[in-house]
Symmetry: C2
Subunit: 672 residues, 2 copies
């Protein structure tokens, strides 16, 4: 080995990363040392030589983005943030993986300054990075002008074997290649080891060839040769295709006995191994101590301040020359909606002749609302997973990025999961509000990305059409049964299932105004009957559940959502003929209804009155709402292929079923 005095600065900087990672995992008695050790040179090169960021201002809009898609290597990122000068102390690092620390097991957005996205579920970080690079490209096209460049940054992402085995890596890399996202630079930690061992037994891809097939610029380097990596990154920055740099690395590099094996992946190295690594690398500093020359070499604050200052000066000029654009950029980056949007939609839906008050499918109502919203909100970035004409997500003002290279609408291709995770990346970048459509049944494909958006509290809108057996002939593979309910179970996710045009409009308004999490809009394929409402009722829709039709004496409450509200209304009419007073409650957003105060909930659903739910999906979810004594009308088996009307009859999802069940319920309860 080299003597300490001949080891150069870059090597010592990489060593600092290695020891912070190894020592923190050791202290935590759990974690993943192998990947940080293997990626130390990659990290040193990107962070010290290329990344344009300002540790003092992690929300600077024009910073380069960095994503650690193999999030289990979190200690690498924490070490980088600490050494670069972010507000993350050495004490924070000592608390790695402890409750309430800022250094949790996987990087969490919103918790740790400088962490751009939450990663851990493999492949999604790469998708987020594609979203960030996409957002950069679109914002640059909107806000840069001749002589003024205010948005111009790279997105770097580290990925491991696991990310590249995941299907989502295909979806988003294919998309990124097609869209020529040239400022996306991906470094692949190609160490040939995954948890089950040598990857050759299950991952025989020629990855370089695969990404060439996607239209990427691909290079392969020794991942422990910093100069070679540096050169590859320089070339990547000049290339107008997205770049993949395959870095051949050794997992756990420099762990004397464990490097190259899979034992180094997910368990502490042990004090002996670390001591031997110190010896081998000539590293004399104690755990969590950084030699001053290394600290200085890593400190990115002075350079960060210069980057920021330079940009601030540019932006001052821009603001003078183009005050409207500058103000718009700031507004959009802050996520504040322009005034008048809500008013515009309210006007649309209030007009007596409003098309929202016709008998139309809620997916069509959604499109009518979008016609307004997309005009009023230039930050809306729409799209669909190749179902634009079915989801009705495109509008007159939609300009397809696919065809123009810029715009406000994207066909994501048949890539539901990729779309959802790219939308998370777009939202995380800032400046855009993404919405994207697919068939509701295929929310299964994108489910974990919907969850990640909820965990990261991102404003992402999922347009899920064809929401029940009402889609008809396409049959059980396409008919959601459990989906509406199971999406409701994801924490911090709002699921809207509107019953007509007016509720659809209010759902859209709630979704675009909600800046603390995703919303799912669950929409019908088939036309639904519109209902008249008082101004007060329209106001109440946003509470998630409200009385749509009341009875003089309320013997029973019928609770419906979406296409089944109409069934409940007809059932109430039947019951009225039998002398039974039935109130109809429309509950487009259960989560919001449950978050209302007890008085409101009691006013809508009086404890003493029996309840019947009706929704074309699994009933168990509603059991909690109607209570043990109540009745649930729904479907607990898979759907069938056939015409929609025939299916509603076949599954006994009819007003007469609801009326019968309600009548016998009232009789039972009054008999007690």
């Amino acid at each position: 080995m080299n003597a300490p005095e001949t080891i150069n600065q870059a090597t010592r900087c990489a060593s600092a990363l290695r020891f912070l990672a190894a020592d923190a995992v050791e202290q935590a008695k759990s974690g993943h040392p192998g990947a940080p050790l293997g990626m130390a040179e990659m990290a040193e090169v990107v962070w010290r030589r290329h990344l344009r960021h300002n540790p003092a201002n992690p929300s600077w809009i024009n910073r380069d983005r960095f994503v650690l898609s193999n999030g289990h290597a979190s200690m690498l990122l924490y070490a980088l943030l600490h050494l670069s000068g972010y507000d993350l102390s050495i004490e924070d690092l000592k608390q790695f993986r402890q409750l309430h620390s800022r250094t949790p097991g996987h990087p969490e957005f919103g918790l740790t300054p400088g962490v751009e996205t939450t990663t851990g579920p493999l492949g999604q970080g790469l998708a987020n990075a594609v979203g960030m690079a996409l957002a950069e490209k679109l914002l640059a096209a909107t806000f840069n002008t001749d002589g003024h460049t205010v948005i111009d940054h790279f997105t770097y992402v580290f990925v491991g074997d696991g990310c590249l085995m995941e299907g989502i890596s295909h979806e988003v890399s294919s998309l990124a290649g097609t869209l020529k996202l040239g400022k996306l630079i991906c470094l692949y930690d190609d160490n040939g080891i995954s948890i089950d061992g040598d990857t050759r037994g299950w991952f025989g891809d020629n990855t370089a060839q695969r990404f060439t097939a996607y239209g990427w610029h691909v290079t392969t380097v020794d991942g422990h040769d910093a100069e070679a990596i540096d050169e590859a990154v320089r070339a990547a920055k000049l290339n107008d295709k997205p770049s993949l740099i395959c870095c051949r690395t050794i997992i756990g590099k420099f762990a004397p006995t464990k490097a190259g094996g899979h034992d180094v992946h997910g368990a502490p190295l042990g004090t002996q191994e670390i001591a031997a690594m110190r010896e081998a690398l000539g590293w004399t500093a104690a755990p969590f101590e950084i030699p001053s020359d290394v600290a200085e070499a890593w400190d990115a604050r002075p350079q960060g301040a210069r980057y920021q200052e330079e940009w601030d000066m540019h932006f001052s000029d821009y603001r003078v020359a183009l005050p409207d654009l500058a103000g718009e950029l700031l507004r959009r980056c802050e996520g504040i909606l322009p005034p008048g949007v809500v008013d515009g939609v309210i006007q649309l839906l209030s007009a007596p002749s409003s098309p929202l008050r016709q008998k139309i499918a809620t997916r069509k109502a959604s499109q009518l609302v979008l016609e307004q919203l997309v005009e009023a909100l230039p930050e809306m970035l729409g799209g669909s997973a190749d179902l634009s004409g079915s989801n009705l997500t495109n509008v007159k003002a939609s300009k397809w990025v696919n065809h123009h290279g810029s715009g406000n609408y994207l066909s994501y291709g048949v890539r539901e999961f990729g779309m959802a995770a790219v939308m998370n990346g777009v939202a995380l970048h800032g400046g855009l509000i993404p919405y994207g459509g697919t068939f509701m049944a295929f929310s299964d494909y994108s489910r974990n990305a919907i969850r990640m958006g909820a965990l990261m509290r991102q404003r992402v809108i999922h347009v899920l059409t064809h929401d029940s057996i009402g889609l008809g002939e396409d049959g059980p593979t396409h008919q959601p049964i459990e989906h509406t309910s199971s999406l409701r179970l994801i924490p911090n996710n709002h699921v809207w299932r509107p019953c007509d045009g007016v509720e659809t409009a209010i759902a859209w308004l709630a979704a675009v105004q909600r800046d603390k999490g995703p919303s799912c809009l669950v929409l019908s394929r088939q036309a639904l009957t519109p209902f008249e409402r008082s101004a007060e009722q329209i106001e109440e829709v946003k509470y998630g559940g409200y009385v749509l039709r009341d009875a003089a004496v309320v013997d029973v409450v019928l609770i419906g959502t979406g296409s089944e509200v109409e069934i409940a209304i007809h059932a109430a009419q039947i019951l009225a003929g039998q002398g039974i007073g039935a109130r109809v409650v429309s509950m487009p957003c259960v989560e919001l209804f449950l978050s209302q105060d007890a008085d409101y909930r009691e006013a809508v659903l009086p404890t003493a009155v029996p309840r019947v739910s009706v929704e074309a999906g699994v009933t168990w979810f509603w059991r909690g709402m109607v209570g043990e004594g109540g009745e649930c009308v729904g479907i607990d088996s898979f759907g069938e292929s056939g015409q929609a009307d025939a299916l509603y009859e076949h599954f006994a999802l009819t007003s007469s079923t609801v009326a019968d069940r309600a009548e016998s319920l009232v009789r039972r309860q009054s008999g007690r």
Copy 2:
């Protein structure tokens, strides 16, 4: 155009497919004519010239398999089945997409003879085909001997652009290439059109290069040149790699004005267009009429009978020479378990010193059970999505297919969705019972394949470990919150969450014995305390819920699952000290409990007694079980990174919380 008399037989056979598809879509007034028209030559070549099958016996074990992954082209498959001579009449075809017909919108396994798998959710058919080819390879290695070849067939699959955009296509194609599944032959309908239009805007891949990177044999042909396709299939059959034949096609080929555009994808052609197509192709037969020469040319029954006869003769010899192997093959194909399996496991768990009665993680208990089951059931094909050492799915008797080319265990790589859909294909093939592990949180990735297994009623076992915040430091991305409940919502899916070794063993027995659908085994990372049970209680576990500890007077019932049963037991002890009698019900499988008769359910959960649930996940699911008056102890937010014990405290998932909530509940109810 050629005059009718010069058009050769193959062309007329392809025309028959085109007109059956176009006319049936027309009659149904909905469906997808474009893909059948575009794939008619591909289908003619594969079905008339290569497919070894016997329409009279669709369950012949050694038939070639055919999967239509782009399932919306279902009419192509129905036309093929009808023309080949399967039990699918012309009247069935006239009922296309009607309720109760055998020709639903997408092909459905179990409904239509000759349909090998249910397709529609794109990409999964390809994954099923990979599973079938894998099963063939493994069964061949087991059952063929020198001089006796009883398993030897190809698996053909048609895929469209949509399938190849989906991430799952990457996962399973990479796996198939690595495993060298040489008898898998994939024909790609490369028509350059998807629903949003010309795919070049969102799908720029060089697909041939991509599959070459996976280690596939790739050829490209004119998809309307039958002879070229035929030659490519011949070459594919001789190649020891999986083969992709890229067939350049025109969507809606021969629809005079609509061919090549996306309008032909998902709507009837219209009578005028079909009439013009008749004219152009010189097709004079009326809708649903097949000229006798064409019918004869298509009829696969005589050749099928010969194939079957030949194989039957081989098998007779085999049965004489190797009666044990022959008997075993028949047993496995019929899906009947060998005698003694249940006894073996019962013995294991009954022994006083049984390791199942120690304090161990349920994932570890699962491994102990698997040690027995894998020995006793040679049809078990285990695996993990690169987490073998964490899921503990591998056992001593596991022989890794990755390293040996045959065996009973497979590391699927980091491909959760691919694994689940491949397992569906393995189960559909017959002869093997697949089980596969991943972290529970990533059941989100595989969710739609779990659903498809439930829809197809397949015996597939999903081993989902690290089932709650109890996994600790890996944090919220890895901690299931809503997953157990949301998996329970999938129709025909059984979710087991055992509380100790004994329940784990019984869950495994139920899962391997269940031949009408998938089971999910939800297992802990952390060690759980074992409970003593009477023989009667052990018997009752299989009812899904039973009284684990009773009180002399039952004031409250505490219902727990998995790791939280221990908390309930301790809470009952606390309550006993307060003079409150608490019964503890363990409910490892809610679906089974709910399927018991009312008397049993009442005996376990008396209506009059208030209830408290405790499960480390979303509470709403339990609201239906405890009723409005009951209490639910759980977690309705995302998890945190930290040590497991600290997390249970942090989320107030403790026996004192349960006792407090139970005590105030009892007080409230008795005060009424």
